[in-house]
């Protein structure tokens, strides 16, 4: 029986009527002057420019092809480890990202009410003066902590943090708690590093909990996983939905949402109780090896079967297969692990499984716990120390969340504190390269938070939802139009340099932050003339000129000393499967089972998950990606649909405790009967996004805010919804 997924489902072009436009007929893609000056373009106007993509956080190296002084194509940089010569669909659409007709190209100052989208164009001077004066006024009246700064991590983050900390505010919002807090906190506590790197060269057995790599594409890793499967590696993939990764997996386990840790704990049970791990060897590096058998004895496969719905025999077999592969087994750490409150425990179990297989202990093993410090080895402009921060952080770190690193924070808590005014009221919000209205759960509440602000300023390239509701919008240059600080990857430092002459009055973040900093009297923290000067200062320890790195695309970093001993950056210096730190904070020291909430009989788990053509909420307006996207619909299993009397194509109303949405239904076998799925990132409010406006529904309008007390991670899948005909 064939049930095709999106047979003839396609997106009609938006009202903008850009139907017949091709990339090349858009604004003349003049090559950046900086590239010409660096001699990268020859006399005929042909050449290549090496830079980095920013369509997602993987930041593949790219090479832009120039013909007759025009940028015609982006290719992957074969010498960059994250792309290895390839670009995913979003990377390939980068030119469209720059030529989006809905880009903001001048500073804008709001004239209507917030949310009306009425702005007037202003000069940079006027806009920057206004922003600085407003921020200063808030600082003078309420203290610097009343100014919230948030940015999704990007290459200019160090300068953003300068603004934040030099200003004196502790309130730092990043997207991390909506994404990988569970993973990072778990691995920090267990291995002492944020995220272990994966090596697929010799892998034989891969266990993935979610991490839909075939759709949440990280170019090089997706490629390596695919090639590993090609070579014969086995992939066991846990996901309530039949994703593209599921279709490539050797075994797809449609596990009940929220119960992954039960599955994994049962696996650990099987491995340690049958002594399949080489405990004598791992004892040297692992805390808890002696007691783990007893601790895990309660998590039998039979017990796990009750909870997960996966047969005990299957769990047992997979555990044995995993253990048999020894250090060529990999339990993937995952990425967006903000699913359930117990996701932290899931990550702890994954870390434990890897420790038991020994793959993390051997150099060249599937998992590497080597520390890669950001920015180490690069120069930086001098700056004075930051002022002492006196106020509490609104996001509860560390006074409410003792184990959440300050760098991660708890973004949803920050938003809630803005709404509640506790422990104090925030008054201003500086947002850079971030879209809190779309990213935070419970969109209504986020809009409430916005309403509480006296002043909101957004730095972005396009009129997205957050810019739509702001008071001032400062146009950043797109990643193809600007310099950013250098990014070290492996043993090289890579450059992002302008490929296209910035359109309109768009400027780089390096420039914007400096301009703002100077107006706030914080010029000492931005001691560089311009972007090129900044990079030159970064290059000083490497002894490489700017011209060299622009031509080559990268500079070699000094070699690190070979580590003789394997050490872990934990309190004990070993892998802490048993964590004293957790115990002292009042939590279970072992990976443990925490029962997740379950939906009522008339409710569904609301799943979201990536599609290969989009990055979160930032690309739905990109016409090239829109063209090749499936129409966003609500997936539902035929049995569930039949019970509700629904069929494909029906308009349905999906309701959660905090919101409602209308969406078209797609009945498909590719999902558990107790789950529904919607593509994230649609349902934009901004009419300034002419392609994306009116398409699909917003998942963030439906998500309820649930925060894990240990890692601060938001539990996105703990929202239960009802569905009925609209």
């Amino acid at each position: 029986m064939t049930s095709t997924l999106s047979r003839r489902d396609f997106l009609k072009m938006g009202a903008a009527g850009a139907a017949a436009v091709a990339i090349g007929t858009m604004l003349p893609p003049k090559v950046a002057q900086a590239a010409r000056q660096a001699g990268l373009i020859n006399a005929e106007g042909d050449g290549t420019i090496t830079s980095m993509c920013e369509m997602c956080v993987w930041r593949c190296g790219l090479i832009a092809r120039i013909k007759d002084g025009r940028v015609v194509k982006l290719e992957g940089n074969p010498e960059h480890p994250h792309s290895k010569g390839k670009l995913c669909p979003r990377g390939q659409s980068g030119l469209m990202n720059t030529y989006d007709p809905d880009r903001v190209l001048t500073p804008l100052i709001r004239v209507g009410k917030r949310g009306e989208g009425l702005f007037r164009k202003a000069s940079w001077d006027e806009a920057l003066d206004l922003v600085a004066s407003k921020m200063q006024a808030i600082k003078d009246q309420y203290g610097p902590e009343a100014m919230v700064f948030s940015s999704t991590h990007n290459l200019s983050q160090p300068l953003f943090e300068n603004l934040l900390y030099a200003f004196g505010s502790p309130n730092y919002g990043t997207q991390r708690s909506l994404c990988f807090n569970a993973m990072i906190t778990a691995f920090l506590l267990t291995y002492g590093i944020e995220e272990p790197s994966r090596n697929y060269d010799n892998v034989e057995y891969i266990l993935m909990v979610g991490r839909n790599l075939m759709e949440a594409i990280s170019t090089s890793e997706t490629s390596e996983l695919s090639h590993a499967i090609d070579r014969g590696a086995k992939l066991v993939y846990l996901d309530p939905r039949y994703t593209k990764t599921a279709s490539k997996a050797t075994e797809w386990i449609p596990i009940r949402p929220g119960t992954d840790s039960a599955f994994l704990l049962a696996m650990i049970n099987v491995i340690v109780s049958n002594e399949l791990a080489d405990c004598d060897f791992v004892r040297k590096y692992m805390v808890g090896c002696d007691d783990i058998q007893e601790e895990m004895s309660r998590y039998s496969p039979a017990w796990a079967e009750q909870i997960t719905g996966v047969p005990a025999a299957t769990i047992e077999r997979i555990a044995r297969e995993y253990a048999a592969a020894q250090h060529n087994a990999l339990a993937h750490p995952g990425w967006r692990t903000s699913n359930f409150i117990n996701s932290f425990q899931t990550e702890r179990a994954i870390a434990t499984l890897n420790a038991l297989s020994g793959n993390v202990l051997r150099p060249g093993g599937c998992l590497s716990a080597e520390i890669e410090a950001e920015g180490a080895g690069l120069g930086a402009p001098s700056q004075p120390p930051y002022p002492r921060l006196s106020a509490l952080r609104l996001d509860g770190t560390p006074w409410k969340y003792p184990l959440v690193p300050l760098k991660l924070g708890v973004f949803q808590e920050l938003r809630d504190a803005i709404v509640s005014g506790e422990p104090y009221q925030a008054h201003g919000w500086f947002i850079s390269r971030q879209n809190p209205i779309q990213s935070l759960p419970d969109r209504t509440k986020t809009l409430e938070a916005f309403a509480k602000m006296d002043f909101i300023v957004t730095v972005d390239i396009i009129m997205n939802d957050t810019a739509w509701y702001s008071d001032v919008v400062l146009p950043e240059a797109s990643y193809l139009e600007r310099y950013d600080p250098l990014l070290p990857v492996g043993d090289k430092a890579y450059i992002r340099q302008p490929v296209i002459e910035p359109q309109g009055e768009a400027k780089s973040a390096l420039w914007i932050y400096k301009q703002l900093g100077e107006r706030l009297g914080l010029g000492d923290y931005f001691q560089y003339e311009d972007e090129e000067d900044y990079i030159r200062q970064q290059l000083v320890p490497l002894g490489v000129s700017l011209e060299d790195i622009k031509a080559k695309g990268y500079a070699d970093m000094p070699e690190k000393d070979e580590e003789q001993e394997i050490t872990f950056n934990t309190a004990s210096g070993k892998i802490e499967v048993y964590s004293e730190t957790l115990k002292n904070a009042g939590f279970s020291p072992w990976p443990t089972w925490e029962e997740p909430p379950m939906p009522a009989s008339n409710e569904f788990y609301l799943l979201t998950g990536k599609v290969a053509q989009h990055t979160q909420f930032g690309t739905q307006n990109n016409q090239l990606l829109h063209k090749y996207s499936d129409e966003p619909k609500l997936w539902m299993n035929p049995k569930a649909a039949a019970d509700l009397g629904l069929s494909s194509g029906n308009w349905v109303e999906i309701s959660s405790p905090v919101g409602k949405a209308h969406i078209i239904l797609l009945v498909t076998e590719a999902i558990r009967p107790d789950c529904v799925y919607m593509t994230p990132g649609y349902g934009h409010l901004s009419k300034g996004l002419k392609t994306a406006f009116g398409v699909g529904a917003s998942d963030s309008a439906l998500h309820v805010t649930y925060t894990d007390p240990i890692s601060g991670g938001q539990a996105l899948t703990q929202t239960f919804v009802t569905v009925k005909k609209a």
Partner: protein, 391 residues
Amino acid sequence: MKMSLTIQPRFRLPLIVWILLGLMGIALVVALVRYAVGIGPISDLSNSYPWGFWISLDLFTGVAIGSGAFVIASIVYIFELKEFQPLTKPAVLTGFIGYIMVVISLLVDLGHPERIYYMLIHTNHTSVLLEIGICVMSYLTVLAIEFSPVVFEGIKKDKWAHFIHKFIIPFIIIGVVLSTLHQSSLGSLLLIQPTKLHPLWWTPILPVQFFISALAIGLGMVILESTLSSRYFKRGLESHLLEKLGKAIPVILVIYLISKFGELLWAGDLHFLFSSGWMGILFWAEILIGSVIPMIWFSIRRLRQNPNALLTGAIILLFGMILNRFNVSWFAIQHPDPITYIPTFMSNVKYIPTLPEMAVSIGIFSAGILAFGLAAKYLPVFDNEPEKTQY
């Protein structure tokens, strides 16, 4: 209802003419829109259905309908069965108008009608469509020459008419050869689609089958056109001639049926006859209506000798044969539908001709009727005496 085509002093045109003009006007408007914004907005054609209503009706059926001309011409001029002379001029006129209608419809259907003459300067000799194009263009010329005596007689230039008549035989032969080529080539158009045309129809001898059926269609058309024009233009009906033509039809149809079923037998495709669902139904419909029933019908003398029954038989025959043309060019063709995700540029796997689409064909057809009527009114198309030819 008998209508008169006489033009009254007060310039009142009869209702039928207004209707025809109206339909032509609609077609013209649709064509202009098509030229402005493309074929897509006014039709249901798509990448799955590049050819549809226009090609099936205007090209396939239109060309078949014009086959009366060469059939009669060969009967009268090659086989010298002079008694059928009175039927030639109307048949040639029908053919001439019919082929002009084909060309007009191509001017709407082609993506670049202004480049239609490219078929004469850029030629790809393996292309069946090229052969049809050149043949149709040449045959139009021949038909013009064959019909020119009527025009010359109409404008009282009898000497010119006689001049043409002296050299008519070579043109007749050329006309028959050209007709044979393009009538059969319409079938050959499908030879390059063996994976798409259903095995009940696809065969390497498609051109032969098309030619044989064109002979039957030609005879049927002559019967139809003669009978109808006798009613509307109030002239005598050569029923005895038509009856004789009718006698030949069963012979042709027998040969046709042998070619159809014999081919299926030889290719081992007989099993498709009863196992092909809708395709089988369409096949049997076309065989029964277009061949079996007319074969029986025209064998019965009583029916042949009754003008009404003769007409009915011709209509049945034509309906069945037109169904065959539609089957071969549209209904029995499998249109590609890879199960696509997006973009659904092949999405139109259903094809239902739109009203504007059909309006174009109807308008062209109305123009043809009007042209026939005008010619019949003002030119000596119908004379009841056999031409006295001098050798």
